[in-house]
Amino acid sequence: MPETPPPIIRLRGLRKSYGNVQVLRGVDLDVPHGQTVSVIGPSGSGKSTLLRLLMLLDAPDAGELEIDGESPWTAEPGGRMRADNARLRRVRGKVGMVFQHFNLFPHMNALQNVMEAPVSVLGLKAGEARERALDYLDQVGLADKAEAMPAQLSGGQKQRVAIARALALQPRIMLFDEVTSALDPELVGGVLALLRGLAQRRTITMLIVTHHMRFAERCADRVLFFENGVIAEDGPPAELFHDGVHERTRRFVEAVTGD
């Protein structure tokens, strides 16, 4: 029997509320390393919240969250989740995130945005970090914008700086929130091609929250349909989008694409 490697993301009964709004109501998920997963679903269903928990920006209320075999949170006697700081930093080092609004540092140019973490987190020398940053900016097609300040960049360019910035730490998992929704339609193609390129390398696990159904269908190995804080449907895109079984996903896709 071939041994299946443990999943790089493992969630069991993950719950999260903000105030008295229950956002995640028990999420179970296993993602093997190298998989590209699209996350779709109606607004407010908890997609961004899931990414925030995976990036360890927020603590879950309950449930298990394991990344690459390590769980950063432990439940205290009172029920609150507490992080072991060293473990939190170690696990965070394996995950990168591109935010919906990019969140570039406005007081640093593109190159400095990308260099900051390699210097201060990985301890690279300025020269090395610079080389690495330029390499990643080149990979996202922005080598000539290294000196530009974020305010001088278009939405698509900002997003590509944000992607280079996250990639420069060479994470095992990349999380993308609404990669295309803040972009003008003519910019969407370029970013999607970039992600497609990443997906083909298979050295990185990707979770991509998107409203772009064509992208979800074409580039992902797997689609998660989120509804009311749980994964309502889960499967390869061909099945979810086209078979007769996954009724809710199909109806959602029809509604958003207007077919």
């Binding site: 925030r52 990036m55 360890l56 920006l57 930093r89 965070r92 080092g93 995950v95 990168g96 995130m97 935010f99 609004h101 969140n103 570039l104 540092f105 406005p106 007081h107 900051e116 973490a117 201060s120 987190v121 300040m149 305010a151 001088q152 910035r165 996250a166 730490l169």
Partner: protein, 219 residues
């Protein structure tokens, strides 16, 4: 009494040392206010509740007692605790601490105005807490509040005459001494007013330059 221009020109050089003292007190006081103010603002945001409350209390206390009282207090009480400081150092310390409390409130507004996404991005890049503050949050917060900090720089400068109360020979004290000697106060006091006017205008212009620079850097 007529303003005597020649006499005024004649006493002008006597103000040089006082002007120098005043500028030094302002510069040193502001440096202290800017750094201590930032430290207070950060402690105010500290997660440990008692640290935050204690800091808030200190800020409130300093803000709601008169500067002159604080100057006298330090001047007469510090020596009793064994700290021997010159009158100039004591006065500058008082100015710095007093304005630090005001600067802390300004910094606080600046820190609050930095969007949560910046904290998120720093955390996602795994930057440590100090690194996040120092490289990401504080520069953005400060850039937003330069004009407000600048106003306090000018206000502090205009408060330096209070140091004459503890024997520091600054501009006002010099004018009083000249007046007492010659029984002519108009020229000396007018010159003090002119010094303050010119230097305040100069400081305001300087602040606008700094502000402009920062805006270019952020463009």
């Amino acid at each position: 009494m007529i303003f005597d221009w020649n006499y005024a020109l004649g006493i002008l050089p006597q103000f040089a040392p006082a002007l120098w003292i005043t500028l030094q007190a302002t510069a040193a006081g502001m440096l202290l206010a800017l750094t201590l103010g930032l430290v207070l603002a950060l402690l105010r945001r500290c997660d440990v509740a008692w640290v935050s409350w204690l800091t808030a209390g200190v800020i409130e206390f300093v803000r709601s007692t008169p500067l002159l009282v604080q100057i006298y207090f330090l001047f007469y009480v510090l020596p009793e605790t064994g700290m021997r400081l010159s009158a100039f150092a004591t006065g500058t310390l008082a100015l710095g601490v007093h304005y630090a409390a005001y600067c802390a409130e300004v910094y606080r507004a600046g820190l609050d105005a930095v969007p949560r996404g910046q904290w998120d991005a720093a955390a996602a890049l795994n930057l440590g807490p100090l690194r996040t503050l120092w490289r990401i949050i504080v520069p953005q917060a400060v850039a937003r509040v330069v004009p407000a900090l600048g106003n306090y720089l000018v206000a502090m400068f205009k408060d330096t005459p209070l140091l004459s109360a503890i024997t520091v020979v600054e501009l006002l004290q010099t004018a009083k001494m000249i007046g007492a000697e010659s029984f002519r106060y108009v020229e000396a006091l007018t010159l003090v007013g002119v010094f303050f006017l010119l230097l305040s205008l100069g400081a305001a212009a300087l602040i606008r330059v700094v502000e402009g620079r920062l805006q270019v850097a952020h463009a």
